[in-house]
């Protein structure tokens, strides 16, 4: 075990909800502060130290200027941990990858504002730097975070479940949502959250990523049975996992979108939905 290792938290494109969960964990598991020294954590403190050994990174990489900062963190840290779905998978940020980046920028910021902010297709941080471990979820599970920190301090390899959510859902003795006709991605999604969404009546959306032997074919059959169209099923599959599915190229278990992020049938050219937000006023 390291003698009170120094740890730091960093954020990239994200909602910072995973860091909030960390702050939460520090309150429920006060003993954590006896184990580690936090030297940088923008969301929780103003001090900034750069002599950390373990870096926890929240957020995906969505612009070129992020890359250098990521590489600097990698250079300093002995261990880099991806914190949450955005850093781990690309997460919801990667949904934008389905359209040309210029269209997305125009859609969000309007004609006049489309060049105001730098942006490119979202990627998990492991596409930019070497990542040692990931703590999945949107947001992360507090208990899992504590357990993984403990494991790192013991010099043991953190282990994530590679079985579906259904295991934990059955143990909770929940009625199966898919049996009740409500779409749930539990059968293909990595467990470890104690099936929190299905336990409260909401179908799983796959935020912890898919298991290594996810049965997409029969998952699709189940969702079709609920009356979902193939396009709707694609949307379910890609909500958190667009990046991974797109990376599968022609093998992606999607009916409409191919690996390049372009629709398989040119005739179906998709238009962006009408923006909910007014375009920024012309300067």
């Amino acid at each position: 075990m390291l003698a009170k290792p120094k740890i730091a938290f960093f954020d990239f494109t994200s909602c910072e909800g995973c860091q909030l969960t960390v702050i939460d964990a520090l309150q429920t598991h006060l003993g954590l502060l006896d184990l580690v020294e936090i030297v940088q954590f923008r969301e929780a403190m103003s001090e900034k130290g750069d002599d950390y050994q373990i870096a926890f990174i929240e957020g995906s990489c969505t612009r070129e200027s992020d890359e250098q900062r990521l590489r600097a963190i990698r250079q300093q840290a002995m261990i880099v941990v991806a914190l949450g779905a955005c850093a781990h998978l690309g997460g919801v940020n990667a949904m934008k990858n389905r359209w040309p980046i210029e269209d997305v920028q125009t859609y969000v910021y309007g004609q006049a504002g489309r060049n105001l902010y730098e942006s490119y297709p979202a990627r998990p941080i492991s596409e930019v730097i070497e990542v040692d471990y990931a703590i999945p979820g949107c947001p992360i599970d507090r208990e899992e975070f504590v357990r993984i920190v403990q494991r790192l301090l013991q010099g043991r390899k953190p282990k994530l479940p590679d079985y579906p959510l259904c295991v934990e859902c059955k143990l909770a003795e929940n009625a199966c949502l898919n049996k009740l006709g409500k779409p749930c991605l539990g059968p293909i999604t990595r467990a470890g959250c104690h099936a929190i969404c299905p336990s409260h009546g909401d179908g799983c959306e796959g935020c912890r990523g898919f298991i290594s032997e996810a049965n997409f074919t029969y998952m699709r059959e189940i969702l079709r049975g609920h009356g979902l169209s193939d396009v709707e099923i694609d949307a379910q599959f890609t909500m958190f996992n667009y990046y991974q599915l797109a990376a599968m190229g022609a093998d992606a278990p999607l009916s409409q979108i191919n690996g390049n992020g372009h629709r398989r049938h040119a005739a179906d050219a998709e238009v962006l939905p009408a923006s909910t937000f007014a375009a920024p006023k012309e300067a």
Binding site: M1, H29, G31, L32, D34, L35, V146, R147, Q150, L153, Q154, D162, Y163, P164, C166, V167, K170, L171, E173, N174, A175, C176, N178, K179, L180, G186, P187, I188, I211, S212, E213, N215, T217, Y218, M219, E221, I222
Partner: protein
């Protein structure tokens, strides 16, 4: 043992009296069905229930059970030392009320598995303090049940008390002396008369036509059917469909496999060793050092489960590994069922005379 008669109206009093000295668990209504849960007041107990997601095995083998705690430290001479303290979790006088006959057959197997050969101290400590009160099934749970095929429609000798609803009364058979004492100490019940026994017999006979057979073969034929079909292509078909979600094993009253893990406390000096339910349907179940996996394909895992239920457990313990409760069928999202599989294997084994002669 003796047969007693208890008017139904005295059941709540019986349950409340038991609650004074025992943890009483039994089937209760939930939002979407029924589940075994702690009975907080007698009116929560529902004895006429179709089925539950998890069988009452969860009280005999908790989903997660601490086996011992440990503390690491240094001895005076500086050597690393470890102190170990055994833990017996959930060991307390418990009454499991309202156990269906199929689930009692599951408990028969559990008792064999955990007490014969290598005796599991944790299981046995809990089991010794547990009373089983069965309830006779007079109607099938639903279409998924095939208890009649599996011969689990009558109660095995594992109960302390077994109740059968007859009109406005329960006829209660005492399976053990401690069960009889439990009954008589907690409620006023009388020995059944010849007339009561006659009505009980009528009730028991009348229930059989309500249960249907689902298997094309007899229970005794299943082990050889499984042996012959180890190499069947059906396993590949089922493996393709299987989601490898482990639901079938988690809800099974005869599945007992567990994993063992050590977990540290936050102070990093103490910790505990715990065991938790595991499933042969999960990819990592047969994964060993070096990355070798004895059952890497889902097909081999589906086959393994069916073999356990239909053959292996029979060979080792002398009783069938499936109780016909139907829970795995209810839990499966891709329609992999034991009757469906056995019948498909059986059909394949038959010589098709029509095609042989028609050629």
């Amino acid at each position: 043992m003796s047969l007693y008669i208890l008017p139904k109206e005295r059941l709540p009093g019986f349950v409340d009296n038991l609650r004074a000295g025992f943890r009483v668990v039994g089937p209760v209504r939930t939002e979407t069905g029924y589940a075994f849960a702690d009975i907080r007041s007698a009116d929560e107990l529902v004895l006429e229930y179709p089925t539950t997601i998890l069988p009452p095995k969860k009280y005999l083998l908790p989903q997660r059970e601490t086996l011992f705690t440990f503390r690491t430290g240094k001895a005076e001479d500086g050597a690393q030392q470890i102190e170990v303290e055994p833990v017996f979790q959930d060991v307390q006088p418990t009454v499991i009320f309202g156990v269906h006959t199929c689930d009692m057959h599951g408990i028969v197997l559990y008792d064999k598995v955990f007490s014969q050969g290598y005796k599991d101290e944790h299981y046995c400590a809990r089991r010794e303090q547990t009373y089983i009160i069965g309830i006779e099934c007079l109607r099938p749970c639903d279409d998924a049940s095939f208890c009649k095929d599996m011969g689990t429609l009558t109660a095995p000798p594992v109960y302390d008390l077994h109740m059968t609803a007859v009109d406005d009364n329960y006829l209660i058979d005492t399976g053990t002396e401690k069960g009889e004492r439990l009954l008589l100490a907690n409620v006023e019940a009388h020995l059944a008369t010849t007339d009561d026994i006659r009505r009980l017999s009528q009730t028991l006979s009348a229930k059989w036509p309500h249960f249907r057979h689902r298997l094309k073969m007899t229970k005794d034929q299943i082990p050889s059917l499984m042996a012959i079909n180890y190499g069947s292509h059906i396993w590949d078909t089922l493996g393709e469909r299987c989601l490898a979600c482990g639901s079938c094993t988690n809800v099974c009253p005869t599945c007992f496999c567990f994993d063992v893990q050590d977990e540290m406390a936050l102070n990093m000096e103490e910790g505990e060793r715990a065991r938790m339910w595991d499933s042969c349907q999960l990819r990592e179940f047969a994964l060993v050092a070096g990355g070798h996996n004895f059952r890497a394909s889902k097909a081999s895992r589906v086959r393994h489960r069916m073999m356990r239920k239909g053959k292996y457990i029979q060979q080792v313990h002398g009783i069938t590994g499936c109780t016909g409760c139907g829970r795995c069928q209810r839990a499966c999202l891709v329609d992999i069922t034991i009757p469906g599989t056995l019948n498909a294997l059986y059909d394949e084994m038959q010589i098709d005379l029509s095609s042989a002669t028609g050629a």
